[in-house]
Symmetry: D2
Subunit: 405 residues, 4 copies
Amino acid sequence: MTIGQTHLFTPGPTPIPEAVRRAMNVAAEDHRAPGFGALATEITAGLREILRMDGGNVFLFPGSGSAAWEAAITNTLNPGDRVLMARHGHFSVLWAQMAERLGLDVELIDVAWGAGCPVKEIERRLGADKDDSIKAVFVTHNETATGVTSDVAAVRRALDMSFHDALLFVDGVSSIGSIEFRMADWGVDLAVTGSQKGLMCPAGLGILGVSDKAMAAAKTATMRRAYFEFADMVNLQTEGFFPYTPPIPLLHGMRAAINLLQTEGMDNVIARHARMATGVRAAVQAWGLEMVAEHPTLYSNTVTAIRTPIHIDAREVIAIAHDELGASFGGGLGRLAGRVFRVGHLGWVNEGSLTGAVSMAEMALWRAGVDIELGAGIAAAQRYWSDGKRRDRPRVVESTPIAAE
Amino acid sequence: MTIGQTHLFTPGPTPIPEAVRRAMNVAAEDHRAPGFGALATEITAGLREILRMDGGNVFLFPGSGSAAWEAAITNTLNPGDRVLMARHGHFSVLWAQMAERLGLDVELIDVAWGAGCPVKEIERRLGADKDDSIKAVFVTHNETATGVTSDVAAVRRALDMSFHDALLFVDGVSSIGSIEFRMADWGVDLAVTGSQKGLMCPAGLGILGVSDKAMAAAKTATMRRAYFEFADMVNLQTEGFFPYTPPIPLLHGMRAAINLLQTEGMDNVIARHARMATGVRAAVQAWGLEMVAEHPTLYSNTVTAIRTPIHIDAREVIAIAHDELGASFGGGLGRLAGRVFRVGHLGWVNEGSLTGAVSMAEMALWRAGVDIELGAGIAAAQRYWSDGKRRDRPRVVESTPIAAE
Amino acid sequence: MTIGQTHLFTPGPTPIPEAVRRAMNVAAEDHRAPGFGALATEITAGLREILRMDGGNVFLFPGSGSAAWEAAITNTLNPGDRVLMARHGHFSVLWAQMAERLGLDVELIDVAWGAGCPVKEIERRLGADKDDSIKAVFVTHNETATGVTSDVAAVRRALDMSFHDALLFVDGVSSIGSIEFRMADWGVDLAVTGSQKGLMCPAGLGILGVSDKAMAAAKTATMRRAYFEFADMVNLQTEGFFPYTPPIPLLHGMRAAINLLQTEGMDNVIARHARMATGVRAAVQAWGLEMVAEHPTLYSNTVTAIRTPIHIDAREVIAIAHDELGASFGGGLGRLAGRVFRVGHLGWVNEGSLTGAVSMAEMALWRAGVDIELGAGIAAAQRYWSDGKRRDRPRVVESTPIAAE
Amino acid sequence: MTIGQTHLFTPGPTPIPEAVRRAMNVAAEDHRAPGFGALATEITAGLREILRMDGGNVFLFPGSGSAAWEAAITNTLNPGDRVLMARHGHFSVLWAQMAERLGLDVELIDVAWGAGCPVKEIERRLGADKDDSIKAVFVTHNETATGVTSDVAAVRRALDMSFHDALLFVDGVSSIGSIEFRMADWGVDLAVTGSQKGLMCPAGLGILGVSDKAMAAAKTATMRRAYFEFADMVNLQTEGFFPYTPPIPLLHGMRAAINLLQTEGMDNVIARHARMATGVRAAVQAWGLEMVAEHPTLYSNTVTAIRTPIHIDAREVIAIAHDELGASFGGGLGRLAGRVFRVGHLGWVNEGSLTGAVSMAEMALWRAGVDIELGAGIAAAQRYWSDGKRRDRPRVVESTPIAAE
């Protein structure tokens, strides 16, 4: 048993806002009662705004983000279809594996873990694909395993420049709701996310934005599917009814979470994530540690993957944080296991949260034997976040009434 | 807005027990923290007891019960496999539809809605299937749409008598955890349920019991699958880790719900459901209404589907209950729409709950214009439940201390 | 452990509405943060509407309703002051006892338990009190122990007709928020209630409406007081700060509860309670049982106290309901112990709730050996509530989409 | 609206542990049902252990800690009784004020705010009181306003050395459950606390430990009382029934909180608080700021009150923390308003929590214009907490299974 509060700094699930938690504390409910449908229609309307869609459809599949991946593939592609994708981190690897399992002909581009989506190479291959044999390009917008954000708009430009008709699939699990995502502007056909990251809910809903072009493809796609059938869920956006019993508390939570994002305003949400991430990176730099992301243009504003020095097992850092501080950080995944720990800075976070994250990471690193100076990293983050905020003259503040305990 | 308490008498989702509701009120949690796995291993151990398994494996798929259907099929069968199943209600129709969508060669036996699984006919067909071309038999243990419980053990005997090797799939969504279910004794190979019925949680977990024989079949089955892959989930039972982020609050709820069932004892749970159901049926009889179930041997102890007289739309009864009494009953599904309403009597129910259910149904029937006498049905139920419980001499009861408000 | 849902039909605490329960599910909070005060100012503004005040002040004392009784007395009266009050049930007895403990000279009028406040006799005594030696008249608006509502307006008229200056104290614990209460029109000086009855929250806040006249009296009153000092709490209504740490979850609950009452509208709330109560009384009559209230003009619309036949211990009825049905009814208090059980029909109740209450009470009575016919009472209630609501022709109702489980 | 998580570092209310929060999420309940009493008897038994009582009684008054103060005074003293007490902070001032309001003859010893209870002077006055005219000595064990812990055992010795019979009252609101408290060993007669500090619940229960000697005094004490009457509550410890409706969710929370303390073990709880406090004080020293507590022997292990430099309004620091970081610190009270801010480090806290507290306080101080170096204070705290915890060789850690999102 952890004594005292737990501190969650994983890149998902992310902290559940109080308003979301309260919204989920519901009794069992008749999901076929009149009025129930409004819950899902409000959610899909809100998601359309967050995804910045124009036309198309939003679906909510009870399941994890992986479920939405599968729904995207099985509804729009045919067995044996050739798809193009890069592998540059654990989650892109898993996505490719899924595509293969489902019977696609996956053309892989392997780049370094820490690199972004290789747009030039994709452009080259699309250009070479004169007969449009590539049916889809898959892009991992934000590699949660490496803390790398790729340039989806550039992939769209590559498609357009080649006059290529392939569908554009985007894994936005750890980007949507936190960093800029423009489904319509970028011509994304299938945008996948889950409920437990930028949407600040528990896991349990796979979310899928589908363009009109993808909806059309779904009409003729012959891949086998049943649970994930678009046709069954097509009335969700208009009437709010699910083809099976939905996870009702989660729907209430999702509505509340979307409301928080809308109240703050997506532009402010995005700016806040940038600001939070920059402070965390200032700390990493002060520690003299390396990030997995190869170049500043790739730095993710939702998760930072940090390499531990060669003789220090990153799992030790994570274990110390957990056992001695009550804090959870993300581990290195796949080939990065033991080499990397990850700080999530997405969702319902603010400077206070991340001040704690950086302080605790710092202490765990030091205790694990990493050669850093205590206070150095947090000071760097504090300086970044505080820049321009120091008062030059005291403000007069009113006292609140005084009272007993 | 409904003024006052809502009263939920649908056959799922069922009322969430207070202990389950409390257990689900959790903060976000690191699902890769040491110790987290115990949550799932306790759940699978408990489910094994509830399913009365011997060997095999239990899987929990984030999704609805339909997700577990799909997992069962795609992991153990091959494209084009011939399967035998009866359709005798809305949910068996949907299951057959799924089987077809997934590419099986479905041999259908259509019987009346209200009939049970046609064991004799199944036996006949299995006997005629000399070359074992039938790869699986699908049985809907409890048709939630018609309130009919079928005889799974008899289907097993039919298989055994024919020395037939087909897998036995059972849809136990509205039976498991409430009425007798014996996976090992009955030789069930794939037992499907969801979290929102007898397991008294919100929807969101598809549960699948898999026999050793089915596990072996999964090794060679060639149907396409990814999200539902058994191999990915095989460590759930031993180590408790999911292949993707699970719906954490629901896992906490499931553990609490299983604990309630175990504390009561499954034999007591089953006896309670029988007793509850019999009282409800006494009311139906007193009203002079017909049940959809064709014969008393088929009566379900978890749900009763009741026909309204020919000139009365059952939807009107349901609407009155909802709008005027704050109560939810189940509607008629598929071809029974408007002809039937359904009373759920499964899960965390007792005589108090169902006294309310019967009283409210009675009042809604009367208001809808059905020719019944107010008080008649509830009196019949009260008499059944009270039989043998009348005191012949007063008991002396201690007063509790008296106090102010 | 009760198996299955519990059913709460006590006259307080009353069922907590879902919206209130959710509102109370809060993390710890800084009660001196900017903005926190709005919580209490919204509550006091809402309570002023519910109490139908004009001028004066509303205070919220952390404590039970009894705490508000004590605050009312100690802030406005002087040691040895003569006060006039009737005893006609357990709670008026307790109130008189408190008045004596606090050093008042209590002039008691004892009437039958089941009678109302004896207005004529009060009028006589006030008329005889030529030198205004009576400093206050205490009226129990709704005797929760007997189910009797007294005529507060008539007591005001008696005071006015005698040109008597005494303060008018009213115990509205089980009336305020449920049945008509008009603090300004009736000239009530101190109106007491608690959070756990018509206000549908857990116990923990004693609520006090104070007229301007009573506020003026508080300026010179010399009775010793500290925790309950009005002066410390006088900014609650304007700024929302408490003189000590308040029970924060309860404040959130109270705000939500007041919002429910305002959304329904107090006139509708009052009409609903009348309608609920009349149905319950129809059942009592059909059982052939007597109410404690002596006359129909006294019947309370929030609680009905029912006598069991002489040879039946009412505690047995209550124990059967609890042990066999999971239902809680109120017991007989003080001299009515064992002779009476009470049905609460206040707060977040509707026809559905009380259909259950009546059915369960009926079954418990029968099992205890009371000579009633099963179904008789509930039928009478059903007939009352259904009167004029039977459809003469069927309505056409739309089907909702059909789905899997 | 605060964006992102709020961070609570006030010295009460303190963070509610998850287990406590869950326990409080209850439906309305019949507080006179059989079995309900066990809730309060378990709580009182647990509190007896936490208070380290031997004999005597524990009472729970619905209300705040101030309510328990009043109960202690009114039940054991007589009007005009002479009591001796020191004032050395806001809460001792309020307590003295209450004593005067309730009609005691309060002999005050005013010492500096920041000093502890003046034991020598108390000893001198007790020695001089040859006719035992002092009926009680009041000691504020932990002055929440100044962060000073006084030596209760020394006051007991002073009483014993004078063979003085006065009752010993102790305000333990911010000490009990967090730092050493030994009611029996120290001969404390009345120990007061509230639910919202070391007991980690919302406010709403005033808790009172009463020695046998104080129980005896209550038999003859003539001060007026009603709501707080010991005699009404005397069965709480044995049977668990309250004299009025208790705040039920809070009782469930209290039971869970006590269980957490017992599981950790009170000696460990006390050691943890010492360790947490020392780290915070290391930061204060590194900032070069002064504590209100005059001497290291007085430093409180539950709250640290920190002076801001003369030209900096402490309210500005608090406002910046709140508005820019989402963090709440305690303010200066009474004469310390604007001069002091306070960090609570009691209850469900650990190194992770306080790492955050120190980092955020540091950043708020800097932004307010205080002349400190960012990183300096947190580094000092980190060094203290990490001392002796640095690994000299890496540990081998097992990977957890890898999964999708």
